[in-house]
Symmetry: none
Subunit: 176 residues, 4 copies
DNA sequence: AATGAATGAGGGTTCATTCAT
DNA sequence: TATGAATGAACCCTCATTCAT
């Protein structure tokens, strides 16, 4: 993951991965089918773990504000524990490899569902169309997380969460 | 640009580029130093053209709302005219190639400057730290533009602009 | 062909073929899809050329003896001109590669047709079943040709032809 | 033997052989020096067993016809009991491996000796040179046996023997 | 004696780049 | 200036063989 996060699928050789793991070249193939499959598996597994983490964080809260906050906390915690993975998922030549069922699209669709609900309840600002807004919120989250995971000293955990919450709440409706 | 946008730096061969341009393989090297340099040049040139477009759009307006709107319009127009380029800049194994002086960072720093100004004037919501907020806004813009440029029928030009303006204004302060 | 004749498909590397042709490794792939395909093409092309040669030699003669002789001459001439090819076709890990639609089966079926005709005319010795006899005659021809092409000094052209003719005539019926 | 008969020396891995024998990969090397040696040993042992079988069958008969028949029966019986081995010996990338002291040459030399004897007694047809005729007869035998062992339902045991006897007798002289 | 994970040399293939024409 | 055949370094992957357990 470290190597893929730094240099991408094509920038890393199978020899480097093996050597990085302290084993011989051939040993790589005792554990993984091939380089592309390993990468794809990392992405897919990571995406579903992230999705599960988010989903779980949304179970309890009922108020919008609490829900948004819970989600932000979950995402930030995930990023803290999976620094390399986050860079792979959001650093994103993931798209190029065809490996990912679009982590971003996955997150975006979560947002989109929430926005549709808000629209139904009349709490969504009129000028916000659900689809593009969902994409914008997903992009915002991804970028923030990715930027932060490249160097966690750039901002405190709390600042990240507060920014996420504020912007998401704003995007998720909250007529002014 | 079309090829790079579709398949990324590593997914395209120099032969394909030449053939796509209707010339022989060797001719490629009469025009470009090598494939990586071409890619880098596309990214850098594209980034500075985008930056210039944004900067120009910000010259006249004095009010925040007008300024944000002008910027959104400029970015959207740029994306319309440079569909492939936008996918290269934001689709983003740009980061991996080391080719880019971070288009996103460039955009982010524009936002950051605005946020610092807002903070000085006391109009920035307290919970928003300038640096991460700037990243979030940049990520939001990039994602929205990229998503849209993959298939312009996904949303109307206007919806994109309205979403951008609303979310940016919100992020840029506007205490509630 | 020389290399394949000497060491078989698996015993020859693509690098050796290139080097043997006085070109660099990559050049091989400008001319052939890959090593296995080249081998297969050699076998298939060789088989059909041999079949065509045999077929042509059988056009004119009407008497059995003349026909058998014409065929023997054709096969021997082919072997003289295509020493390496003959060793590939009959030296025979051809079967292993799945490359060949069985050159031998092809030749055998020619014989089988002739034997069926002989049977219909009542000139075939009773103890000879067409199918196995055809295989035997084909194997005989192949072996003789292969053995000779490994070292043409082993026997004169004429000895080969005479042996072939005599044995084939015998096999093809000629009740005693 | 089954694996080698089906796919040849190069088409079988040492792992497959071990797995086919129900032991672990390393165990293979407790029993055999290496894959190539195993193959060579199979071929050499098989060839000498076949040679011994033939030699034994030729001990008693004194008449040519009886001798030829005894030999044919011996060979066919051997093929019936050693289906895989026969395919290895005659299916024949045996030659390529350098493993075999030429089973065919071995058989051929038996025939050649008989032919020389016939020549000395003046019973050999003038047009048949001993060496090429011996090769032809050996090839005929090998092909017939091999063809039959690939699918014993192709012909009855008796048909094979009768064809062999008839053709060999014819080749072995029998002036007309 | 058996295991099976580990090794690493070797081979097939690709492709960025060159250069004689 | 344009060509495109040729180059050869580099990469992915396989598999015969070893050896600590």
């Amino acid at each position: 993951m470290r190597l893929f996060a730094q240099r991408g699928l094509h920038g890393v050789t199978s020899h480097e991965i093996a050597r990085g793991a302290g084993v011989a070249s051939g040993t790589f193939y005792l554990h993984f089918a091939d380089k592309a499959t390993l990468y794809q598996d990392i992405v897919e597994d990571g995406a579903s773990r992230l999705a599960a983490t988010i989903a779980k964080s949304c179970e309890k809260p009922t108020e919008v504000a609490a829900l948004v906050r819970a989600e932000a906390v979950a995402v930030v915690s995930f990023a803290e524990k999976n620094q390399h993975l986050v860079r792979i998922l959001f650093g994103s030549n993931a798209r190029i490899t065809g490996a990912c069922a679009e982590v971003l699209d996955c997150i975006a669709s979560t947002f989109e569902a929430a926005l549709e609900r808000a629209r139904a309840q009349g709490t969504l600002a009129d000028e916000l169309a659900p689809a593009p807004t969902a994409q914008a919120l997903a992009g915002m989250t991804a970028r923030l997380i990715h930027w932060w995971s490249q160097d966690p000293k750039r901002a405190s955990r709390d600042q990240i969460i507060r920014s996420l919450v504020r912007l998401q709440l704003c995007g998720l409706g909250e007529k002014r």
